[in-house]
Structures are given as structure tokens and as C-alpha cells.
Symmetry: C2
């Protein structure tokens, strides 16, 4: 028997992706499955990005410089300045997706056994990166009831130990859709400075805020510069998830110096996709206007759908394209599976992500699901209709199952009891 | 003062890339610098690969499946079978470069503190991946004098401890150009089975063997299947280093199952470049014939150059496009820097990689350099001529410096001694 490492064995499979085989099976049975599990936008990748790919004219598809192509670092610097974030090209390293930026950040600030505070529910892939770097994510809970807002400074402070090296936020938030107000970020910055912690700020959904809300970056808060590490990606911004182009950026030179060593260890990020990314990053911000309007309509369609399910707890999210809803059922994971294996309504069903996988504290989020609203409004309405019917049917299913379990237990107990 | 992790601080900067700023400075002074430091082939990327990029016609640049695009896994499986390596698509995962394949392999088999045996000098980026995964590379030495052949089973066995989980080979070898004969691989396989260790076999230079030599893959050795993990990449094979498309493959299902979790944690490899990679992987193997002939001419030009430098120890390498030479000087790193800062011959100089960075044992490889022969023959001849003159001049420089140091020490010692 060959040996598999403990860290590999104990790593969680992706809660977002693990139900895909069941969805495939459902489709084979002729059921239309609406995929609401994954943050893969259906918005076409902007033409300038696709044009850049098609116009790639280098004769040798060579390594890029490890910190990224100079033209792309310049483009990012310009983009950030437009967003009132003062970052020079030398303060930016191109990463292979936002995932690698998180990985670099964990490696830069943590030794094995060190801790980073996160707010659960949180983006599940942080877990994967934490396992790979042997660090511990210490979760402070947020609640559906108040729209998953950041906890109080007191609650966060309680989670700080001598091993804590940073606090990781995602703003706008995946998986909750929450946008953190400036005042909260200022509190967090003050805490980080006073306890000498880093703030890792994942802002890949920066542009995706609704109802006219303005996004505040951690980089907008004065005085936190040497403590702030920005994690970013073009994946969602330009519907280019497959490009695997992200960014790690900081005004802390020591952080950037070690990140450069990590970047050299993996040689470079993909070359064609950096060329394509530049075209996206240089686009006029006006590009986002119709897209945001479209996502806002989608969010509204999802919320309208939830409003028709009695007992759902779900504040209107104001950013990203996710929402976590607490459902009037017992087991979200069983529900998500059952939707694919045993249910359809008018030939339709939905693929959702059980939210328990976004929590690390066992038992939390058990009756919650995450939805990505990355389909057009018409499809979302049909999907939400199926979901509502699904909840009703699953409530009945859970009731019957419980009654059957109770009866079986009673039957089983009877002879045992009578023997005593 | 913010905190930087110990692992990040202790990580080595790339010995291949760290002299690049000095080369840039030399070029600014008007010196022609021949880059022999990096394995970036100058061979044009094959037209089918570039055509695929230019023909990319998806509307949404979406995430690929985490284990890789099905069409690419199929293509790789067919390619391996042509190379008498029986690997089904389900036994292959596409990685973001060979670097990521190494990273996955280390994570899959090692917990922090575990050991993998390597043969020094070895590809320096293994070090980076070892640091990032907190494992120890235990080096068994190989020697310029016998062309860096694999050590005896006895020598390897001595390095095995209870923490050893695998043996990592690179065949054909970067940085030495050595190709391991089948008999040696069989010995290694027997050892791995008897001690229950994995063999991680990096075969990214599979096609690059010269003098009619045939390459033996670890996957060709019967009975070692569950112990063998193949690391591969299209970077060198199709002059597509910038694509960042590699492979990890094994017939060990448990290994592949945990690698899938790692693949999910970083979501996917780049999409456009997978599409391009397919075109390369499907090419007729006849493609390599003229390219190999070209590399063989280059190798010969390099060896001819070395033959003109008295005191050089360097067996003719038979694979990849690297060679390590032991030079009649004291300090290869000082030499490599000095070539860029203080030397030129007919307006030319060379950028080489000091070989000490390819050893982990302190003091080894100090008078060795690695050369990549990735330039055309004419340029290589000019470069080797400059190198030969450089060695001569540096020998004189070292002699003068030593004499000066000795004189200074004698002068300094005099008054101190007279006071005592």
C-alpha cells in the first residue's frame, strides 16, 4: 500500500463542484438542470479580450517574466489609479488566478500552524489553499439574519491568538453577496494596525455592487498600507474565468519581495492570457454599466423567487452575484442532492451549492444554500420556480422520512424494551 | 514591523533568474549578452499551436474542468500510447505547467517534514516547491566526471529514512543533460517497490535525446505502476513555455484522487492554452526530427567550445538542452556576475547560471556553471568564444585578487602581530 499524505486525505472536496456528477446524470434522464452552483458568468467575454487572443502574433510562446508582463503591470496600475487605489507596477505581481494570489499571501505571512481569521460562511477555496499551506483558518461567524455583515471588533478580537497573522476578507463577498461599508473597513484597519496583523482583501468582485452602492477597497483606508494585501482577478470582471489571470498587490515591500520568489518558483503566468487581460484591463469603465444593470435584474429575480418561499431567511445582497439563503428545511446537502436525483418540476431542476461547505464550524449552515445568479432573468425565474416547488416537496419528504425513522425506531425499540 | 513567514524568508531566489538585472545593465552599456541561463527555446512554436490560439472561437472564456479539458486528456492519452506509455484520460490531470505537477506530487505524498530524495545537481525549482510544501529534499550527489549518472542503489539506500516518501528524477535531466539508461531505472523501480517509495519522474524533455539514444520512461518499467508518478509539460516539447500546460499522471488511483482535490482548489488551468496544447499534442512525431538535429548541432557547438578551454570537466550530454561544466576557476557565481559587470570580448559576453544553486549541499558545484543551448549555432559559437576568453581573464582576475588579499592580510597582520 503506497502512502498518501494526511494533509491530502483530510482536504475537503469542493462543495461547489462535487454535485456535478449528479447533475450530469439528471441531464441524461432528460431533466433540464439550471446550474446555480458555480460563479461562471454567462456574460460574453468582451470583444477586445477575444480580439487580443485571436491577434496573438508572437512566434515563440515564451515564458513571461515571473512577476508578469510589464505592459500588464502598467495596465493594472492605471486601472487601480482610476479606482483611487495608488499602486505602482512594482507593487503588483500577476498571479495565475486569484487562487494563486491567496496562496502566495498565505505563504508570505504564515508558517505552518499559523492562523488567519476568516468570516464564515466564506469562499470554500480558501480552505483548499489553507490545507496546502498548512495554516489554520479561524472562523468568526456572520449571520443570514443581518445579511452576513462583518462581526464587531470585540468578536474578531476574541479570535486573535499569538499565532494569528492576518484577517482575510472578501468584499464584495462570495458566497454571501455582502458589501462591507467603509466604517467597518476602518474598524478592521485600526484593529489590524493595533494587533500588527495583515488584512488580505479579496476584491475580485470590486465592480459588482448594486443599488448605486460604492465599493470601498481596503486600499482606500489611509494608514493601513503596510498591513494591506490586495487579492484580485480578471475572472469575473471581464467574464474571463478561464484566463487564470489574477493579481497580488501590496505597498509592503517585504511582502512583495517574497511573493516574487514564489512567482519565480512557478516560472510565469500564462502568456497569451496576459496579452488578452491587458485588453480587458484597459477597457473603459463604462463597459460595466449595462452588465451591472443586468446582474441587478437577476438578483431581483432571485429575491422575488425567494420571497415566494415561506420561511426563507435572506437579506437582499448588494454585491457580487451570490446569495446565501436559509431554507425551511433540515439538511441543505441532502436537499441539493435530492433535487438532482429525485425531483423535477415541469421537467426542470436546479443545481445549488449546499452552504455547509462554506462554514468550517461543524453543524453551521446546514439548512442554507448558496446560489450564483449567473443565468439570464428568464432562466432564473424558471429555476427559482423549480426551487420553490422543490423546497415544498422536500419538506414533505423530510417529514415522511422523519416519521418513518421514528416508527422504525419505535418498532425496533419495542422488543428490545420488552426484553428489559 | 509586519511579519514575514520564516519559510518565505528562507526560500532561495532563482539562481537562473537572479543575474538578469546585471545582464540588462550590461546591455545598456552596449555589450551583446548571449543568454545561456534559461531553458527558453528559440525554436518557433509550431504553427498548429499558434493557429489554434488565433482560431479560439468561444464566446465566454470560461473555467475549464478542474482536471483539464476532456479533449486534451484524450489527446495526451493518445500521445502517451504512441510513446508506449499506457495512460487512460482518467489517469491524467492537466496542470498549470510542470511546476504545478511537482507541487501536486509533493503535496499528495508528503506531510510537512517528510523527505524526497533528489540527485544533485537538480532543477532548482524543485527547491521552491519543496519550500512551499514544507518538505525536505535529501540530495544524493552525482558527478561531472561520470556525466552525472544515477548513483548506486547502495548510495541511494543510505539516504532513505522513515520520513522518505519518494525519489524524484528528471530524465532527460535538467540541469545536466544526462539520460538515464533503462537498467538504472529498473534498479530504481526495484528499490522503490521494496522500500515502498514513490518515483516522481519529470520527463518534460522526453523527446530530446541525441546520438540516436532511445528514452526510457519510468512508465515503461513493468510492476512499478502504483509507485510511479509522471510529471510532464508541453513547454519544451512544443516551444510553448508560456502556455503553462503540464500534466501529472499515475496509475495509482489514490494519488490521482487527491490530485483532483488540489486541482479543484485552484479551479482550472488556462483555457485558451489547453485548446492550443491539444493541437501540439496531436502533431505527428515527425515534427521533432529536424528540431532534434538542430539541438544536436547546438550541443556539438557547445562541446567544441568547451574542448578549447583547458581544464574543463564536461562529459558529452545526451539529452535535454543543458550541460553543466566544471571550470578551472574557484567561484562560478563570482564568475557569472563578473562576466556581466567587468568583461566583454569583441563586444560580447554571456549570461550563464552558476551551478551552486542546483546543489543543496553547501560548497558543492562552486566552480560549475550550467549552460542552456537554446540559441542557434552561430550565436552559440560566438558565445562560447567569449566564454573561453572570459575563463582565461577570470583566472587572471582570481589570481590577482588572491594575491591582493594575501598581501593585505600580511600587511594587516604585521602591526597587529607587532603589538602582541
Amino acid at each position: 500500500m503506497t502512502h498518501i499524505s494526511h494533509r491530502a486525505q483530510s482536504m475537503q472536496a469542493s462543495p461547489i463542484r462535487k454535485l456535478i456528477p449528479l447533475a450530469t446524470a439528471a441531464r441524461k434522464r432528460g431533466v433540464t438542470v439550471y446550474p446555480l452552483n458555480i460563479g461562471q458568468p454567462d456574460i460574453p467575454t468582451p470583444e477586445p479580450v477575444l480580439d487580443a487572443i485571436r491577434g496573438f502574433d508572437q512566434k515563440v510562446l515564451a515564458y513571461s517574466p515571473s512577476p508578469g508582463e510589464e505592459y500588464l503591470l502598467d495596465a493594472f496600475s492605471g486601472y487601480y489609479k482610476k479606482n483611487r487605489i495608488q499602486l505602482e507596477p512594482s507593487e503588483i505581481i500577476v498571479t495565475t488566478g486569484g487562487s494563486e494570489a491567496i496562496f502566495f499571501a498565505f505563504l508570505a505571512i504564515c508558517d505552518p500552524g499559523d492562523e488567519v481569521i476568516v468570516f464564515e460562511p466564506f469562499y470554500t477555496n480558501y480552505n483548499g489553499m489553507a490545507f496546502q499551506t498548512n495554516i489554520t483558518l479561524k472562523a468568526v461567524r456572520t449571520y443570514a439574519e443581518d445579511g452576513f455583515q462583518l462581526p464587531s471588533v470585540e468578536a474578531i478580537s476574541k479570535a486573535i491568538t499569538p499565532k494569528t497573522k492576518g484577517i482575510l476578507i472578501c468584499n464584495p463577498n462570495n458566497p454571501t453577496g455582502t458589501v462591507y461599508p467603509r466604517a467597518k473597513l476602518e474598524e478592521l484597519a485600526t484593529l489590524a494596525k493595533s494587533r500588527n496583523l495583515y488584512i488580505l482583501s479579496d476584491e475580485v468582485y470590486r465592480e459588482f455592487t448594486y443599488d448605486g452602492l460604492e465599493h470601498t477597497s481596503i486600499m482606500h483606508i489611509p494608514g493601513v498600507e503596510s498591513h494591506a494585501i490586495l487579492v484580485d482577478s480578471i475572472s469575473k470582471r471581464y467574464s474571463a474565468c478561464g484566463a487564470r489571470i489574477g493579481v497580488i498587490a501590496s505597498k509592503n515591500r517585504e511582502v512583495m519581495a517574497v511573493c516574487l520568489k514564489f512567482a519565480q518558483a512557478r516560472l510565469s503566468s500564462p502568456t497569451v492570457e496576459q496579452w488578452a487581460a491587458k485588453a480587458g484591463v484597459l477597457m473603459d469603465p463604462g463597459y460595466f454599466k449595462p452588465i451591472l444593470a443586468e446582474y441587478q435584474r437577476r438578483r431581483d429575480a432571485v429575491m422575488e423567487g425567494f420571497s415566494k418561499i415561506p420561511g426563507v431567511v435572506c437579506k437582499v445582497p448588494t454585491g457580487a452575484f451570490y446569495v446565501i439563503a436559509k431554507l425551511p428545511i433540515d439538511d441543505g446537502e441532502a436537499f441539493a442532492k435530492w433535487l438532482l436525483t429525485d425531483f423535477s418540476y415541469k421537467g426542470n431542476t436546479v443545481l445549488v451549492a449546499p452552504a455547509a461547505g462554506f462554514y468550517v464550524t461543524p453543524g453551521l449552515g446546514k439548512n442554507e444554500i448558496r446560489i450564483s445568479y449567473v443565468l439570464e432573468v428568464g432562466k432564473l425565474r424558471t429555476a427559482m420556480e423549480a426551487l420553490a416547488e422543490g423546497v415544498k416537496a422536500f419538506q414533505a419528504h423530510e417529514k415522511t422520512t422523519k416519521a418513518a425513522v421514528k416508527a422504525a425506531a419505535a418498532n425496533a425499540a419495542l422488543p428490545v424494551g420488552s426484553l428489559r
